[in-house]
Every structure is written in C-alpha cells, then in structure tokens.
Subunit: 216 residues, 2 copies
C-alpha cells in the first residue's frame, strides 16, 4: 500500500518504519520537506518526506501523527479535497504541555480532536486508533504481556475493517482490537490520556497498556 | 469502626450494607434524614440515617458518595471543622448528565473534584478511591476476573494505608490497589470516567474493570 503520514516526529517515524518493513511505500510529512530530522529518517529507512502542501490524493491510507494541538492547521494546509473519500487514521492526542507537566487537553470533555477532524473533513473516513499506547507498543504490541486492548472508533465500518487489518499486520490480534462505535467515542480514548500520562510516571516505562476484564 | 457515608443513593447504600456486613457501625446521610429511600435502607440493613447538618465529628472514616456535582454543597453543610483531621474517601465523580448521555464532567482537565474537596477541607485527609468501578465491583471485586486494578490517590500516606486495609477487607487484594501519588492524580482517574461510561455501553454490564499490563 501507499501510506502517507501527517507528521514527522517520533510517532510518525516509528509507524513509518514499521510500515516500510511490512512492504508498504511510506512518506512522512512536515510543513517543510527539508526538515532535518525527517530527511534523516528518510535516508535511514528508505521512506520519503513531503511538505504538507504537496501531499497528493493518491495514497491508500493516511495517518495523522502530528502533535494534536497542530493537527487541524496541518489538515487545513493539506486541504479537505485531497483527503476526500480516504481513510485517515487519527493517532494524535490534543496534549497541551504549555503549562508544564502533567499536560492538559486542548480539546476535552464536550468535544475531541477526532470529532473536530471529522467535522473539518466531512468526506473523509476518520478512524481514531493507536492514541492510547506509546509508539513502542503501537508497532510491537507483544512488548506488553496479556490480551491488552486497543480501542478504535469511527463512523465508517468498512474503514474500521481496513484499519483493523493494518493493525493485525503489525501484530495486534483481532480480539485485542475493540471497536467502540462512532467517532464520538474518541472522546473517551483521548481523555484517557490524562490517566495514561500519570501511569507512565508511575510505571517508569511506556510499555504498558490496559486490558479490560469483564465479568458476568 | 464507625463509618459515616455522605450520600444516600445506590453507591452509599451498597457500600453501607457491605460495611455493616463486615461488622462496622454505619450511617448514610442526606439533606433531610427523613428521605424515604434512605430510611428504607436503614430499616433493611440495620444502619442509620443522618442529616448532613447533623453529621458528628466522631466517625473513624467518612466516605463521599454524593453525586459529584453536589458534593461541595454537601461538604459545606457538614462544615470543615467536623471533618478536620479525619479520613474522607472520595468515591464521587463530577458527572453532569444535564445534556443527556454521554455525560460530561463538571470539573475536568485542569482540576478535579477530589482536589476541590481537598482545598475545601485543608485539614482532612482526602483519599480518592473506588470511583473507577461500578458499585457492584466496589464491594465484590471478584465479580470481575483477573488481577484488575483500583487506583487510589491522596496526600497522606497513613490515610492511604487505612483505606487500603478497608479495601482489602472488602476483597481487594493488596496487589490490585495502585497508589498513584498525591491527590492531583485523582484528575486522571476522574477523567477516565469519560471512557468508562462508553465501555459500559459496549460491554452491557457494569461488572468490568481495567487491568494494567506492564512490559519491560
């Protein structure tokens, strides 16, 4: 598949490298394609770098791995027409570190980043996924023991099936992937980050995840 | 022990009955002690009912099981002097159902109910606990399989030890109780409710909980 990742930071690079190892064609992206860390990744991985403004409408899947507070600006630069009819996996969280640690969420409680992106891109199939685990867990779920879970949310069932298959190609088992429902359910998974950042401080490793235990 | 529970709803009644079965003296409470559902519970369980304004300073442990949006008003009626030097287990979540389902949180993101209560009661040892599970799980953690977790938070280590012992008397194992840190950590566990309410809709049972799985 041809995969274009919005963003060029650690999450974009980690997912990009994993997709390349799975045989996909991958580009990461930034405001300027000349960005040093992005070009370094491309040299090391065999991937490409695009400027947001130059992202084409030809990819099979797009992922939003920009910092959540900047996602809507990046998407505005790319344009709704480019992403119309496409699957966009929204991996970002609207974490605001401007007041230090712990971060707050710049969108919270009665809205979510994923919902705002879906409203900005009404013809795009937005699927929230992977935002509840560290990048090390995203691409190698086996680093965490147990049948831990990955919640996903989105309005389009076919798009969620495609995303589920992509996740399974990275090592997630079908029973680990929990389809919560429509994109509104992303609100719960983004707000979970407030707990995630605190557990990260306690566990002193990013390699953790939650597993739902369900009784009668 | 002598235990006084702020509130008279389902959570107050369920915890109250569990404490009575463990041999403790228990009173639940409401704005008016004559409240019918509270008196009914007292008749059935052997517990007592108090008006908020009549709550004495003689209990060993207090629990806040009021609806989160009304907790601070109830505490103001009781008065900071009554609760000074005491342990108050804050079980409540600031769920706002005024706009329907799913609820929002009336306090969120840069503050939490537990922190507001601690600020209103500076001489009380506030411990956030039990707010991440349904009342059926609070008093019988074995209804959920696995070594699922109960996060607690508070500024006073001795108070957290007392709370941990009380939890263990209800069936929680020591390894299930996760002491996150100071009362500020309650923010993460309250915001987790945004995910909890959505998982409740998915699982169609309140008898679930999260278990942290931790890798290397």
């Amino acid at each position: 598949m041809n995969i274009i990742i919005l963003g060029s930071g650690t999450v974009a690079q980690t997912l990009g490298s994993a997709f390349i190892q799975l045989g996909h064609q991958v580009a990461i992206s930034a405001r300027e394609a000349s960005k040093a860390e992005a070009q370094q990744w491309a040299t090391n991985s065999g991937g490409a770098v695009l400027a947001f403004a130059d992202i084409p409408d030809t990819a099979d899947i797009y992922l939003n791995c920009t910092a959540g507070m900047h996602s809507l600006a990046a998407i505005a630069t790319i344009g709704a027409a480019t992403l119309a009819g496409k699957i966009l996996i929204d991996v970002a969280n609207p974490l605001d570190f401007s007041q230090g640690f712990p971060p707050t969420l710049s969108i919270c409680n009665d809205d979510s980043l994923a919902e705002q992106i879906q409203r900005a891109l009404p013809d795009t199939k937005v699927v929230k996924a992977l935002n509840t685990v560290a990048n090390s867990v995203m691409v190698a779920p086996g680093v965490v023991p147990g049948t831990h879970h990955l919640p996903i949310a989105g309005n389009d069932a076919d798009a969620k099936s495609v995303v589920s298959e992509l996740l399974q190609s990275m090592g997630w088992q079908a029973e680990q992937i929990l389809d919560l429902g429509d994109i509104g359910y992303a609100r719960g998974t983004e707000m979970y980050l407030a707990l995630w950042v605190r557990m990260y401080g306690k566990f002193q490793t990013p390699n953790f995840n939650l597993q739902w235990q369900i009784g009668a």
